[in-house]
């Protein structure tokens, strides 16, 4: 590896065994030296969770690309990024990419997304950070249709960086060559019919997460949901500062 080339840290939440992260690493390896540091096991829905009460292991895996080194961490996406920065990468990465996730992280799903958990962590550490997600859950999803767009976004972020405390949430329509890229905002929405109820052989109920996402503002033309519906790639700038600045609470303390 070469200190003059950008150092690119890559993680995800679908684990080292998901095709999406290797597709992303291959694209990134044309732009710089790549460290893949991914969860050893699937971590979908892990948000920005971190492992507090148990130890973490790092394991290096074989790589067939001389520009890519591959490691697993026995934890969450945030654990991967934190341990990468503390114990794996030889210097501060120039950029962090997460994904490509198998499944959407548009709208409010950013809140639950392990893919975006890794991105928030990188951003809070001052690293320009981007999450990529394809709107297709299958492990056989075709990432190649959007390859040129992913490379374009990656190159631009490496060249220009990102504002302090701002990262990007990129979602990609499935099964089409995207019509283009749109900068937009996250649609406000919610999940409904969230659990399927079952009864076990002893007669006791148990519950399994299910549900449908409802876009609460289907008429809005500036949201990720709107542009994804028109086969565009959505790029939403996300702030790591969660304070609702300037809001009028209507309560005196």
């Amino acid at each position: 590896m070469d200190n003059c080339r950008p150092l690119i840290l890559i993680s995800n939440d679908d684990s080292i065994n998901a095709p999406g992260i290797h597709f992303l690493a291959d694209i990134a390896s044309r732009l710089g030296d790549v460290y893949v540091v991914a969860p050893a096991t699937p971590q979908s829905g892990q948000s920005a969770a971190l492992t507090v009460n148990s130890p973490l292991r790092i394991v290096e895996k074989p790589s067939t690309n001389e520009n890519i080194r591959i490691f697993t961490v026995s934890g969450t996406p945030v654990d991967c990024v934190k341990l990468a920065l503390n114990a794996i990468v030889p210097r501060e990465p120039d950029v962090l990419f997460s994904g490509i996730n198998h499944g959407s992280n548009s709208g409010v799903n950013v809140t639950y997304s392990g893919t975006m958990g890794a991105v928030l962590e990188g951003c809070m550490r001052g690293i320009p950070s981007v999450g990529f997600s394809l709107l297709h859950h299958s492990m056989n999803a075709d990432f190649s249709l959007s390859a040129s767009f992913v490379k374009e976004i990656a190159e631009k972020v490496i060249s220009h960086g990102l504002p302090t405390n701002v990262c990007l949430n990129v979602n990609i329509p499935a099964k089409v060559v995207p019509s283009g890229i749109k900068l937009c905002r996250a649609a406000i929405g919610h999940w409904t019919d969230e659990y399927d109820r079952y009864v076990d052989p002893s007669g006791n109920p148990f519950y399994w997460l299910s549900g449908r996402f409802i876009n609460d503002e289907p008429e809005a033309t500036d949201t990720d949901e709107f542009w994804l519906g028109k086969n565009y790639i959505s790029v939403v700038p996300v702030s790591t500062d969660q304070t609702a600045h300037g809001v009028a609470l209507g309560i005196d303390f």
Copy 2:
């Protein structure tokens, strides 16, 4: 229970076995009918993680207070709130409280906080939601010094509600009677020296989360860190909308 009294949903991340949630439930039971729906096991650092790939169980526990019903869920704080709303409470709660957490959730810690994960979930469902955290990790922490302030905040939120998509992150100084309540913003900061490295009996390294929080703006006088340092309770309004509205990216797509 009485349909004319407010219905109060309470969760946390320290689990049903932590004193803080029972202290909060006791205060709330003077203001309304309380449903405690808490994780069966500790969930610190679980952020807004949810359980995707395994089933969830609900168990009702005995209560000695006729205004409090107590349930556990075999998952995360977000799982607790989602399952409470889908399968436990008899009607939409008027308010959600989370905590009282044993330990700080000020500054950037809101990102990792399971206490605040429950609060974000309630807020996204349209319920006025407040997280309470005491700056003391001990299971023997003294919550009584701030009881009147917690009750005041709870009463005001029940009376006035909160703006759409805005919830509150309340942090409480430890070992003092607080000097008062201050509405403020989350301090920008970061963690450093994040892992302790060990070597197991076979000679293989493992890592355990550790570290210190660094306030990156110690001179600012409008942050939670500043006011907590002066023994005030900090109240930070938190937005569930993570889009960085109006930011200039400096990149054309």
